[in-house]
């Protein structure tokens, strides 16, 4: 419908080329450019770059530090994806159902999204602090001193605590998408079901959930990708610690590559991470798309 065949291509080129040029130049070219370094022992500074073949990748396979970072990444990502979506959906249903102040509630739940990753890390770091933090202060004044924790220093809790910050910051975003999806369900269908005597639970599982499956797909996709790429909060709150407790793959790539003088190895970690994201995402798309109902 854009015209004759010969013109179509020109039009297509004209429409697409600005975006394609930016995308190629500032994402694809540097990404491909960095691939080379994953085959070197480059320290990031020296003008002499030694090619070492697959040595970095071999090291990854045996490296306990990489294994630990992979495990942390999986834990954090699963935690974030599940809770972000569960809480976002609950909030969306709630905001959809309240009969007053709908816009106010929607805005309030969305406010954490507006804060920068770095700053949200600062705020929670201060709140989590063992000696001066507001959480322990509240527990203390409530007489619950037994529950006081070194929230970011307790190795069993650190990752979860970081996860909570991310869920808090992200839930509002996914809520908006669920909410939009919920509101696009025509009330006729639900009313018809009500007339047929369907219970509330039945309506929810048999009508609402299938109809918002599109939102599910996009939200799980986005939260998965964002979970795998978390950086700011870790950087600000724990710097990957204590020990290696909160070191994720992105953080490992950053730390080893830029801070500890092993750019080659860091890049190889990044490449592996990219492959993991691509594979997971493809699998997830296949799985979720299958369950989706076209609206």
């Amino acid at each position: 419908m854009l015209g004759r065949k010969s013109r179509i291509d020109k039009t297509l080129v004209a429409f697409i080329s600005p975006a394609l040029v930016f995308y190629l130049l500032f994402i694809i070219v540097p990404t491909v450019g960095s691939l080379y370094y994953s085959f070197t022992s480059w320290d990031g500074i020296n003008p002499n770059v030694n090619f070492i073949g697959l040595a970095n990748y071999k090291e990854i396979v045996t490296s306990a530090r990489f294994g630990n970072a992979l495990k942390n990444t999986v834990v954090l990502t699963v935690f974030i994806s599940l809770f972000e979506n569960a809480i976002a959906l609950a909030l969306a249903i709630l905001v959809d159902r309240v009969f007053k102040l709908k816009n106010l509630f929607r805005s309030l739940f969305y406010i954490p999204v507006l804060i920068s990753g770095i700053v949200s890390g600062f705020i929670w770091k201060v709140m989590y602090n063992y000696s001066f933090g507001v959480i322990n202060a509240m527990l203390k004044s409530a007489g619950l001193e037994a529950l006081m924790q070194d929230w970011l220093g307790n190795t069993h809790l650190t990752l979860i605590m970081i996860g909570i910050v991310l869920v808090w910051k992200g839930a509002g975003y996914y809520m908006i998408i669920y909410l939009a999806s919920l509101q696009s369900i025509s009330s006729d269908i639900l009313e018809a079901a009500e007339i047929d005597g369907a219970s509330a639970w039945h309506k929810f599982t048999k009508i609402t959930l299938p109809l918002i499956s599109g939102a599910f797909t996009i939200n799980f996709t986005l939260s998965l990708i964002n979970g795998l790429k978390v950086f700011d909060q870790i950087n600000v709150m724990t710097d990957g610690g204590p020990g290696f407790t909160s070191e994720t793959l992105v953080y490992l790539l950053y730390k080893v590559g830029f801070n500890e003088g092993r750019q080659g190895f860091g890049t190889a970690v990044g490449v592996v991470l990219l492959v993991i994201i691509l594979v997971l995402n493809t699998l997830q798309q296949k799985f979720l798309r299958k369950r989706e109902v076209q609206v």
Binding site: N48, I52, Y130, L152
Partner: protein, 435 residues
């Protein structure tokens, strides 16, 4: 249609380039006749930032035709900041180097400094016969900084041996008013102060070239001395406050001045910080003796300090400004500002007169009387230089032991594994990885 797109792109490019131009304009406009050198330093500390700014201003106003332009690192990620500058070819003319100095020297980015400058210093670090960095201050001498009022109140005295120190910690713990020791373990480099003490006590005391012997394969990290060092660390850290693992260095002053902890183990830069948080705080200082009775202190000059780039060296006019500036910087009347603000121990022979903090004088005396005075284990060069990522790995592994995630034996094993990988691409003993 194509025209419109082209116009759009053109417009955006013009818009951008106008800003691109804008940012360079005022650099040139500042003083077009002067030879300008750029100067980058880590301004993680407000005091350091202010005092260095002051010295630079003095230089610029007293040296016609010469100009030093500061490009602050804005605190935060200084290492990445310098790396970025380097990777885009904007490596500064005069630059503060920290632990990564050796890498830059190997990469040929730093120029050997002339004798007229290096002769000003007590013990500049020599690498292959050249001096590449001049220390901003003597290596930060660590020791116990304590609450003197509290010590006096309870009749506590400075320990004369390592065992007495542990007893002292136990006494304070038993008193129950406050934690014996505050540790900012959230910052690895802070934990490094204590680690280095244990390392010196147990490892370096037996073999000053332990790291070199690891490179040559004669020793490894399963050595009893390494285990002893970690054991000592565990013993001392038992007296640290709850929450040490997440406490940043920036917060430990608060513990001390609010009577939440009696002691901290840190460098002299803390004196000014503590006094600015509480001007009435009574500072006390002592060195923790080693278990063998000797006193080993961190001191002298390490590899970190100010350096000049080789690129600057290739331009004689700039080189002259850079060297002139450094000589000016370390002249007693200017350098004194820096040392006073940071309670730093001067690194120059013609040392500026100190502002008279008695406790600093005590430290300087102690460094003079110490049985050994050496840089931090990660600030050494030559055959004892650590592989690039080894320091942090060691500290993190030590934290794992302290938090009960790992036994000392498995920590040593991990260190061995990482060492093997690291030393295969960097080994100053065999020359591997050093061009």
């Amino acid at each position: 249609m194509k025209k419109a797109i082209a116009l759009l792109l053109m417009a955006s490019i013009v818009l951008m380039s106008s800003f691109a131009g804008g940012s360079q304009e005022d650099v040139v406009a500042a003083d077009s006749s002067a030879t300008t050198v750029t100067f980058v330093f880590a301004d993680g500390d407000a005091g350091a930032k202010e005092s260095i700014n002051e010295i630079v201003n003095r230089f610029n106003s007293s040296h016609e035709g010469m100009r030093v332009e500061i490009q602050p690192g804005n605190g935060g990620n200084y290492t990445e900041f310098v790396r970025t500058k380097d990777s885009v070819g904007e490596f500064p003319d005069v630059v503060e180097m920290r632990g990564e100095a050796a890498m830059y020297i190997r990469a040929g980015k730093l120029a050997p400094l002339p004798a007229e400058l290096t002769d000003l210093f007590l013990s500049p670090m020599v690498i292959d016969g050249n001096v590449y960095t001049v220390a901003l201050a003597g290596e930060n001498t660590n020791g116990i900084i304590y609450n003197k009022a509290y010590f006096d109140e309870h009749g506590l005295t400075e320990p004369q041996s390592y065992d007495e120190f542990i007893e002292l910690c136990q006494t304070i713990e038993d008193l129950g008013d406050m934690d014996p020791l505050v540790v900012g373990g959230g910052d690895l480099w802070h934990l490094g102060f204590l680690f280095n003490k244990c390392w010196d006590d147990q490892v370096i005391s037996l073999d000053p070239d332990f790291i070199a012997h690891c490179y040559s394969g004669e020793k490894d990290f399963s050595d009893p001395s390494v285990k002893a060092a970690i054991e000592e660390l565990v013993q001392i850290m038992a007296y640290a406050q709850t929450g040490w693992a997440s406490t940043p260095d920036a917060q430990i002053t608060t513990f001390l001045v609010n009577d939440m902890a009696a002691m901290m183990y840190s460098g002299t830069h803390m004196f000014t910080q503590i006094l600015s948080a509480d001007p009435d705080f009574e500072l006390g200082w002592f060195a923790i003796p080693s278990p063998d009775g000797k006193v080993r202190l961190v001191g002298g000059s390490g590899i970190s300090g100010l350096a000049v780039s080789t690129e600057c060296q290739s331009d004689p006019a700039k080189w002259e400004v850079a060297i002139e500036f450094l000589k000016f910087f370390y002249a007693p009347e200017n350098y004194g500002i820096y040392c006073d603000t940071l309670s730093a121990i001067p690194a120059t022979k013609d040392a500026p007169v100190s502002n008279g903090l008695p406790v600093l004088q005590e430290v300087i005396t102690a460094t003079g009387e110490a049985d050994s005075l050496s840089p931090m284990w990660n600030s050494k060069s030559g055959i004892n230089e650590l592989p690039p990522d080894f320091r942090n790995f060691t500290y993190k592994t030590a934290v794992e032991v302290l938090l009960g995630q790992r036994t000392i034996d498995s920590a040593c094993e991990e260190l061995n594994k990482t060492w093997a990988v690291a030393a295969s691409s960097f080994n100053p003993v065999t020359g591997q990885g050093i061009n």
